[in-house]
Amino acid sequence: MPEWVMAIIKILIVLAFIGLNGMFLIWAERKVAGFIQARIGPARVGRPQGFFQLFADAIKMFSKEDVRPAAADKWVWWFAPVVFFTPVAMAFLVLPFGPNVIGLDMNIGLIYLAAVASFALLGVFMAGWGSNNKYSLLGAMRAGAQMISYEIPLILATIGVIMITGTLSTQGIVEYQVAHGWNIKTQFLAFVVFFIAMLAELNRTPFDLVIAESELTSGFFTEYSGIRWGMFMFAEYTNIFVMSALAVTLFFGGWASPFGLVGSVLIFLIKTYAIVFLIIWIRWSVPRVRIDQLMTLGWKFLLPLSLFNIVFTGLILLI
Amino acid sequence: MSEINEKVKGRLIEQFPGVEVSETEFGQVEVKAPKEIIADLARFVREELDFDYLTMVAGVDYIEYLQLVYHIRSLKDYAELIIKVDVDSENAVVASVAPIWTGANWHEREAMDMFGIQFEGHPDPRPILLPEDWQGGHPLRKDFIDKRPKRERQFRTR
């Protein structure tokens, strides 16, 4: 088979996975929320636990009217969901699902991920600016401050792992853990920083200031509806998956398992969804922080902690 | 209770010889004052008699004249005071008590909306409950007629 056919097949698989995963997570979030909030959650569509709600949701999103505000900056507004969505899909290129199940095993995988992930901010900002809505603008401004501030500890936290494993390739990191055990044993501090920064990066409670329903109605996607809104949602949930997968890769041994190829992929997915569950759980349990508290946490605690972790790891490696 | 009321009555008569001071059957001191002295009276009861908590300012339209009713509590002495001020309905202007009790601000704006009473020295004299561009008169006056066009029921023709 020529290489480009393989590439197209891979892209199709990734897109299909993004769609299914997004729908599944939306359903899962509603279900978990229902469980936490002492109610049932979706239960009407489909037999086991309203499972087909996810298709109902998707169909609803596709068939809804796509309203554009009259005063919006047309092209910026139009492209924002695409710009927000694309880097998230691009991140799948280097996620190692199994021993050979990876889009492309780059030797700069982590740098690629960091570069691609910071691109999402552009989409958020375009949406906030293009909507010509003050809530959206405020949300976008907050997003700018928040995502840039938290990207720094997020990336610094991974440096500890890179120092131990001595590679930037995601496959390489997993292979190191297959040999030496999970990184969480030595990099617990890094994981804590990573996880908190990850929540902020994903705009999830307690750091969902960018969306903040009760203050900014819905932040940067206030003015979106129909499938455009759906794209933001899909991108967001896919992003949750990507970040969780990254956390699993970096700290929890990735696909490392004794059960062969299928077992590896399954183990990887189980671990990832466990972290996703943790994120959902946190979302429905805690209130939201304020912008100044967010900044204080990011710059005064997470950044020094991540730097300390690097120094500490370096010292350990030296000895 | 009644001791305080007696004391309040005494002080008021002493300070303002012209006013009518009485006690209602529900244990509240009631003062009927001419509108010229309302600012002085308010300052006096606020500062000297410790009536610090204004609960409401109510207008009443008695057709020949309007009346403003202030109900004030003393949180320290557990006493209540009602001040009644008659205002001419044609030329309804009275001194504002909002500089004395800040909370009177909104209550006076409401009386302004509903009765057309102008408050001199009010910090922010704008309509509060009625729309800013309301021209239809003062709803709680007895001679108010709703001049808005009658609303037609809307049908959608198919």
Binding site: P287 | L75, Y78, G103, I128, L129
Partner: protein
């Protein structure tokens, strides 16, 4: 002049642009149809101006055309979360004005229902405050208990919210058999399970404390000057509760504490509400113990034509609900003035919001807890 300095001067010349942001009238956390015109500098509010009147229906004019007893159901619609308290306020004023006697048992029933309504209202405030803070789950937990309470109401009054239950000279009907046991069970659950749950769920959370402690401080002087009422007054350290200090109905027969907190911040006001629920439960328990048998309706003249004027007030969940009545010897009230606690409370918003973050003004509105049925009347 260095380049940086020149740049700064230029920025000052141009001036900071202020953003005027309309919060509401359609906004998820304005608790109804409040519009706040805020002027922002970055995330800070330099000025906030509430614009009210979207729900204005002129209750006071409408009731001038109705008979004295016809007014009662409409008072429900003023503060639609404290219906019995509203009815009680109005009925008490008319009874005082007309000199109507109320049977003992009816008084007890009124007290029990009022206090239950206070609990229901505070439960809702608990939930909405949490939601303003971005925690959705406590909101639903608050609503769960409130719903159980509404079931209890329904058994007595037949309605969940708009009860129309308190009548001149008594209440509409007696309590159903075994109802007291249900209420006591509910109160036990509230005190032993539910409120500790709320503490675990929200109040002990460090984020909750960081968001509410020391934020939106209202000083004693301001609270009195603005005529703040209820939990807002008591949250600022003023020991004032009409139920104890100027007892109406039969409140002088119960032993309860008036909860006050000195700090005057969001946390203080919030905790005053939480603790008041327990005090209300105490009152209800005592009322059940003391309650005599007997009729629940007294005698009312067929045509009521009271004369004179009266100001009478009760302590509702949001503070002093006052009614000023003028009767001119007719079967209709000449003037009904409704002193709504939320109206006075909301007038503090510009003061409190000044210099706050956008995120905090939402909490400030949540903790002032205005109900627009009674703000706009």
């Amino acid at each position: 002049m260095s380049e940086i300095e020149a740049r700064r001067l230029k920025a000052e010349e141009v001036g900071h642009e202020k953003l005027i942001l309309n919060l509401g009238p359609q906004h998820p956390s304005t608790h109804g149809v409040l519009r706040v015109i805020t002027t922002l500098e970055g995330e800070r509010i330099t000025e906030a101006e509430p614009d009210i009147g979207f729900l204005h229906r002129n209750f006071e004019k409408i009731v001038e055309g109705w008979t004295w007893s016809q007014v009662i159901p409409l008072t429900d619609r003023n503060d639609y979360l404290a219906n019995i308290n509203n009815e009680h306020a109005y009925v008490l004023a008319v009874e005082k004005l007309a000199g109507i006697e109320v049977p003992e048992r009816a008084e007890y029933i009124r007290v029990i229902m009022s206090e239950l309504n206070r609990i229901a209202s505070h439960l809702l405030t608990f939930g909405t405050f949490a939601m303003d803070m971005g925690a959705f789950t406590p909101f639903l937990y608050g609503f769960r208990e409130r719903e159980l309470l509404y079931d209890i109401f329904e058994k007595v009054t037949g309605a969940r919210m708009m009860h129309n239950y308190v009548r001149l000279s008594g209440v509409r009907n007696d309590l159903p058999d075994g109802w007291d046991k249900e209420v006591l069970e509910f109160l036990d659950r509230l005190e032993n399970d539910v409120i500790p749950d709320y503490y675990d769920l929200l109040i002990k959370n460090p984020i909750f404390e960081a968001r509410s402690l020391g934020v939106g401080v209202l000083t004693k002087e301001d609270a009195i000057a603005y005529g703040a009422a209820g939990p807002i007054l008591r949250g600022s350290g003023i020991d004032w509760d009409l139920r104890r200090d100027m007892p109406y109905s039969i409140y002088d027969r119960f032993d309860f504490e008036v909860i006050t907190r000195e700090e005057g911040d969001h946390y203080a006001r919030f905790m005053v509400r939480m603790d008041e629920m327990i005090e209300s439960a105490k009152i209800i328990r005592q009322a059940f113990e003391q309650m005599p048998e007997g009729p629940v309706m007294g005698k009312v003249p067929r045509v009521l034509k009271p004369e004179g004027d009266i100001y009478s007030a009760v302590e509702g969940p949001r503070g002093e609900i006052g009614v000023y009545l003028v009767g001119d010897g007719n079967f209709k009230p000449y003037r009904v003035k409704w002193r709504a606690p939320s109206f006075s409370n909301l007038s503090i918003l510009p003061l409190m919001a000044k210099g706050q973050f956008v995120a905090d003004i939402v909490l400030t509105i949540g903790t002032l807890d205005p109900i627009f049925g009674e703000v706009d009347r």
